[in-house]
């Protein structure tokens, strides 16, 4: 029997829960106190008070990477594990054989066709000199979705514009990468906001399909 000592907002707990979802495992979740001093159950199981702690029978893992490795090597990956991994990735990317400049031109065409407006275009060098010269970050939005998001939640600036990057790849090609619009607001949990972003996501998927 697997037990996970965790909190929802702990990023390493999320990594372990995501793998448990991919493996289709059933387990007991023990939500611990916010204050590390108030976690006697974690101390008694692991000798320390941090989470996540994964317990499976007499095995106890405190390091998240060890817990992940243990789960990966112990339990078989069911047929739908990759589907869960894809749904849980919350971003999308596609490698193209053409150089960044050509990729960017093609991307701009496809965005336009989906009525996604490029509001800002920034070069990597503008952000930090360590970024490659040909790196370009676009901020993209759909005007109707922006209006609706603002109405629903005026203080969620990440819901307005979506960052899409064109990144130079080795061998003269490029990669187009985007955050998932639903993933961007997922944590805020306002269901209405997520519905607006789901519509933006559909358009983004159409762009990626044709890239």
């Amino acid at each position: 029997m697997i037990t996970l000592y965790e909190t929802e907002w702990c990023p390493d707990s999320h990594r372990i829960r995501q793998l448990l979802t991919e493996l289709g495992l059933t387990y007991t979740a023990v939500n611990v106190a916010a204050d590390k001093e108030q976690r006697p159950e974690v101390v008694s199981v692991s000798g320390q008070s941090g989470v996540p702690v994964l317990q499976d029978g007499d095995k106890v893992y405190v390091e998240p990477d060890d817990a992940l490795e243990y789960l990966r090597t112990t339990y078989p990956r069911p047929g739908d594990a990759d589907e869960h991994a894809a749904r849980g990735a919350w971003r999308r990317s596609k490698s193209l054989s053409v150089p960044p400049r050509a990729a960017q031109a093609r991307l701009a065409e496809l965005l336009l066709a989906q009525e996604l407006t490029i509001v800002a275009k920034l070069s990597g060098a503008q952000i930090d000199p360590h970024l490659p010269e040909e790196y370009v970050l676009l901020h993209v939005g759909a005007p109707a979705a922006i209006a609706r998001s603002f109405e629903l939640d005026p203080r969620a600036p990440v819901a307005l514009l979506l960052p899409i990057a064109v990144i130079p790849a080795e061998g003269g090609g490029s990669v187009v990468a985007a955050a998932d619009p639903v993933g961007q607001v997922w944590l805020y949990g306002d269901p209405a906001l997520r519905r607006v972003q789901a519509a933006v996501k559909q358009r983004l998927l159409a762009v990626f399909k044709e890239l």
Binding site: H14, H84, V119, Y135, F150, A156, A165, L187
Partner: protein, 211 residues
Amino acid sequence: MIRFYQLEWCPECHTVRQAMTELGLSYDVVNVAADREHRPDVVAVSGQSGVPVLDDGGHAYVGAVEILPHLTATYPAPADAPEHVRRGAWRLSRQVPQAPSDTLARLHEVLAGKGLAVIAETRGEDIAAALPDGYVLLSVALPEAAAQAFAADPLATAALLLPIAVVPDGDGACTVSAADPVGAVWLYGAPPLRKAQHQVKSRLAEALKEL
């Protein structure tokens, strides 16, 4: 005993898990199949195949809309519930009793004081006609953290620039609102990426305090 049928990547399931973290509940987690046609366990307990479903003492609650009222009506909130709420909010904002234009000038000062560079400044009307006068969106970077994030994970487009909005509240007041930089990459889970974002977050928190 609570039995929760769910998936890690399902946003509504996240909402319910966050509530159970706030209430400090322990429960059994049943991770269901990706394909709704392959969820006989969910159908058996609730008569339908969607998640989240929560079975508490033999009564099934379907969807956050049924589950959340049941949980809050049944289980008392412990003293640390507000701390869990704060940690799970994943955004930072501060209301300022000043006009948006004055706040924007002051925001530029405090950001610069923390080494946060304003890479782009976009007026609301240039984003979408529906945004109010005075709305401004800044794209902000901590250059060394951006370089680290790029080195750790070049395809994590949401990790480079942080959107910070000045949102007019009317009556000469406004709110400065930002996504939590760690929250923005939380779902991707790469630990080095989160470390870079933690630096951005602490600078931002300091800047907002000084507004």
